[in-house]
Amino acid sequence: MHEQFYKSLFRIRRVEEEIARIYPTDKLKSPVHLSIGQEAVSVAVCEALRPEDVCFGTYRSHAMYLAKGGDINGMVAEMYGKQTGCTKGKGGSMHLVDTKAGVMGTSAVVGTTIANAVGYAYAMKLQRKKVVTTVFFGDGATEEGVFPESLNFAVLKNLPVLFICENNGYAIHTSQAKRQGHPHITERAKAAGVQSSCVEDNDCLELHGQVKSAVEAMRAGTSGPRFFECKTYRWKEHVGPNEDFGLGYRTPSEAKRWIENDQVTKIAALVPEATRKAIEAEVEAEVKAAFEFAEASPFPDVSELMTDVFHTPCAATPSEAVRKAA
């Protein structure tokens, strides 16, 4: 188990580090919202899920995409704007998708996928599929009306949906306390009737344990929606490859405790060194290959501009007036 966790954590970290490294070359003309520091949440949750389970996310979902099994080549190529990207260069870093892996899409408008996940879960329940639907979102998203509205419906219909709030304490540069009159998200979820808990300290294994039993209960049909507030921390700037302590809205000393508690390092320590080395070598090769794949891939042809607007091409406009009935 630790091997798997470590591989997933390390892989996410390395992909994002590579993104950050390459970013200054301007080859990735894409806004990138890095998860560095927050990988533990996605890994803890996705390791409790099966391939057929489904996740929705946000613009900050590189970690979820990879943890859930999304194709690494498709993701990196997408950031390069290449035809081989997971959306063929149409969605970019904020709209990752890999339906085969159960990544049902991410959104750049805060909060939107919360409701989409609930609808997806409704469909799964109606179709008697034992699929668990998960949605990842930030602390800021809980301020949007769609959050309580979605919780209410999930409770009303007792849906197997997992709400994962990645509380990194900030929305862009504004702290939770400056945005929430009563900054206790878990309490609000409970008041909506959702069984909820809060996991402090970005603790990957603790969160995993709790999520696992929640997911099992959902599969067994003995649990409705569940909410987890996952305290975590973003190491880099809100969007882009750099650190941002210079901006002054937060301090390096605040970050210190989170960095010391880095889950990539923590879980690494639980893996025997030889295994760890092998994992790392494997991941490095995979990451390298993904970036090479992306670089080598072609840009989409301009003929792609107008495809996919509709799922089936819009019926051609008839060229003669429609006959009037006799």
Binding site: K88, G91, T112, N116, Y122, S150, N152
Partner: protein
């Protein structure tokens, strides 16, 4: 409304059987919608119907009546008052392969759903590179009269024409209500299905079999050479009435019902204007950046350099809808004012002619409370 108007044959392969059907069966618009929903639900277990009050005793003017009993509360359910999230739920369910029909008793309330409709529903197919699609139908109703007022009367469909990725349909007859709804449910994309509370009372021939009315095809509902009247949603009725008033004074108006606003059958409209040289678009909404602006612009784009044309737009007065009957009457175009404007266009100048009201062409009176 003249029930002999508007029945078109064999628009689709499926509709072939209809030709053989007796034409006498008459339904109201609401019954036609109910029947279309029922047939699609029976055909496809993925079709579900939800929205505020779809399962209550009034069943959305009867359009969802009996569906709860027949299909159960998992497929037919009322919702909390949460338009934003419920639209997101509808999209999520559609992503999972269901074909939701999400019902709103007023189009005005869709303003709470705009984020999900514009930013998610309309865009998902494209922004995910075709990996997903959203087979969603949104039914919404336009209110009119009896003091509905500013917030219960808007026809805001141009918002959904504006954004790529959605289809928009405004059927005006029971026949089209049924055929377009079946088509909309089967479409793999978000379709905004626009009803009008006054159209709900219309009766007309509706084949019992299943049939579809294909997107992007307008219907010529009256032929004529003197002027083209395009009537959208409820205003189609007023245009047909105006056509009668005009016929009384020897003017032959061609009346067109676009049915689908997106995709829009500009071919049919432009062909008519090529013939008549005069276009009056009567819309059931505001004209600024509305469907009427689009139709006028497209017709000009088509016909420029080929012939001189005259155009006119009529629609809601450029204000919120007032409640007092005297102001309400002034707010909306009606048959006589359409006829009067068309008369001026045909004569090329202001003639101050207004037909005497004909009893048989009077508007249906809607009696409240709602």
């Amino acid at each position: 409304m003249d029930t002999t108007l508007c029945v078109e044959q064999s628009q689709t392969a499926e509709a072939a059987d209809i030709v053989a059907m007796p034409k006498e069966r008459t339904l109201t618009y609401t019954e036609a919608i109910r029947e279309a929903t029922d047939m699609e639900m029976a055909r496809d277990p993925n079709v579900i119907v939800f929205g505020l009050d779809v399962d209550d005793p009034k069943a959305i003017q009867g359009t969802t009546k009996g569906l709860l009993d027949k299909y159960g509360s998992e497929r037919v359910f009322g919702t909390p008052l949460s338009e934003d999230a419920m639209t997101g739920v509808a999209i999520g369910a559609a992503l999972a392969g269901l074909r939701p029909i999400h019902v709103h008793i007023r189009m005005d309330f869709l303003m709470l759903s705009m984020n999900q409709l514009v930013n998610v529903g309309a865009k998902s197919s494209y922004m995910f590179g075709g990996a997903v699609h959203v087979p969603l139908v949104v039914r919404s109703m336009i209110g009119k009269s009896w003091g509905q007022g500013a917030q219960h009367s808007q026809g805001l469909y141009s918002y959904f024409m504006h954004v790529p990725g959605m289809k928009v349909v405004c059927p005006t007859t029971p026949y089209d209500a049924k055929g377009c709804l079946i088509e909309a449910v089967r479409d793999d994309n978000p379709v905004m299905f626009v009803e009008h509370r006054i159209l709900h009372f219309q009766k007309g021939p509706v084949p019992a079999a299943s049939y579809t009315v294909a997107p992007g095809k307008a219907r010529i509902t009256a032929e004529g050479d003197d002027i083209t009247l395009v009537g959208i949603s409820y205003m189609q009725l007023e245009c047909l009435r105006a056509q009668r008033y005009l016929a009384d004074v020897g003017i032959n108006a061609e009346v067109i019902d676009p049915i689908w606003l997106a995709p829009l059958d500009i071919d049919t409209i432009a062909a008519s204007v090529r013939k008549t040289g005069k276009l009056c678009v009567v819309d059931n909404g505001w004209t600024t950046c509305g469907a009427s602006a689009e139709i006028v612009a497209q017709v000009l784009e088509r016909l420029q350099g080929t012939r001189d044309i005259r155009v006119m737009r009529m629609g809601f007065a450029n204000t919120a809808c007032p409640t007092s009957p005297t102001l309400e009457a002034e707010f909306y175009p009606d048959a006589r004012r359409v006829a009067s404007a068309a008369y001026d266009m045909v004569h090329g100048r202001k003639k101050n002619w207004m037909p005497e009201e004909r009893v048989d062409l009077r508007q249906i009176e809607f009696k409240g409370p709602f």
